[in-house]
Symmetry: C2
Subunit: 253 residues, 2 copies
């Protein structure tokens, strides 16, 4: 656009709440994060596993960037479950990896889990000044959207992406939330419109849609196709994980 044409919707433009999408954490500096409730999205697999774990009674989940940080919790002697993977396998000496199948009631109820997720932690860290930070995935889509609609705040859907790159799965989920909010008086920015239109294109079979992407083959090689399918289930859960200090806990209704 020419320099003199402002295309951006400022927060609470036109007297309405904004529902905006940040397509990768690299674009977060363009937003006044403190004006928003932020939803962090990392569909494969961090935020899906977090939603499932909190639903299944995990007391808290602590996201960290690196396997070494995760290991440090063991050395502290605290009674945490430690989750860390490399190349799709659980790192030796850790309790489990990032597969949502590890976050069952039997394993996580009443426990605190330290979860290694580089992209998710990066997005959380950059969003720290938000009014509130919650966690979204297809698993808690409708519960999350309904709650967002009850808040009188601007919403920023932050796609964790991969190493700051745009990715389709996180964007599609952002579009799914926009789809539930768009008729509730929210003002959408261009990225929210785009995300929603992509969701419309893919929603009839999200798994098939995402197979078009460049990393379909790679995911296959990692043997996490079952995880992928699991993460694309809509409304399996209702818990909304919220950040309190360093911990993600269940939002109280």
């Amino acid at each position: 656009m020419s320099e003199n044409i402002n295309t951006q919707t400022p927060p609470l433009a036109n007297g309405g709440r904004g529902a905006h999408v940040c397509l990768t954490p690299a674009l977060l500096p363009l937003f006044n994060v403190e004006d928003y409730i932020v939803v962090v999205i990392d569909i494969f697999r961090a935020t899906s596993s977090i939603c499932y774990g909190i639903e299944n009674g995990a007391e808290a989940i602590i996201p960290v960037s690196q396997v070494e940080e995760c290991a440090a919790y063991r050395e502290k002697g605290l009674d945490y479950l430690l989750a860390a993977e490399r190349d799709g396998s659980v790192v030796e000496g850790f309790d489990f990896g990032n597969s949502p199948f590890s976050y069952t009631k039997e394993k996580v109820a009443g426990k605190t889990i330290v979860l290694t997720t580089t992209n998710g932690t990066h997005a959380l860290h950059l969003s720290r000044s938000a009014k509130k930070i919650v966690i979204g995935s297809f698993l808690n889509l409708t519960a999350l959207s309904n709650w967002l609609n009850t808040q009188n705040e601007n919403i920023l859907l932050v796609c964790a992406g991969w190493k700051n790159n745009f990715n389709l799965e996180d964007t599609l989920f952002a579009g799914a939330v926009v789809d539930q909010l768009k008729d509730k008086g929210f003002v959408l920015d261009d990225a929210a419109i785009a995300a929603n239109d992509l969701f419309q294109t893919g929603k009839h079979d999200i798994n098939v849609y995402l197979k078009k992407t460049s990393h379909g083959e790679r995911l296959k090689k990692l043997g996490i196709e079952k995880d992928i399918e699991f993460c694309l289930q809509i409304d399996l859960t209702t818990a909304i994980p919220v950040l309190e200090g360093e911990k993600l806990v269940k939002l109280k209704a």
Copy 2:
């Protein structure tokens, strides 16, 4: 994505050329720009006016960021046409603004024009290390796509956006180019897939599609609706502007 799952297509992945989309200049540092032919895209209105001006025989177009830089060319005493706008009106003392209607044969044939475009210049500057930089708009869509297909290089479609923000019109055009390349053996990244799917959603009436965007009202206020319509015409021109030093000139076949 989890830290251990690489979703990004590296250049020339799978032995094929990459057709990748950089959704805003803020994401350019994520690409090895020197591995690509870059197409700079700033549909409303810089790159549309540049395509039209070069088609109509302008000897060269020099893009600059600021009105003051543009004015400096006058002080140099050079016989350039100076184009600068503020708030949709030609700045006093300048020859014309950014409307493509100013770039007719009668006005520009044989001339060098200094064009003020903040976002376009920003994108050009950040792309400087590319193998080649060309200019795209709906006006030269097919000529540009055909030429790109004859080059044995990775293609990076750089959306100039607005102050580093994502915008729909530049992304839709990137998707239109991907549409012409996608069956020619190019490997697409997630952003290219997304841009193409958005183009599929909007292509039946791009003008109507873009009216959904947040800035439809703003463009109306600026009174540049006729410019917008003009910029959305497909294949009105065949010239491909290419950057040589500081100047955009016609690419020789």
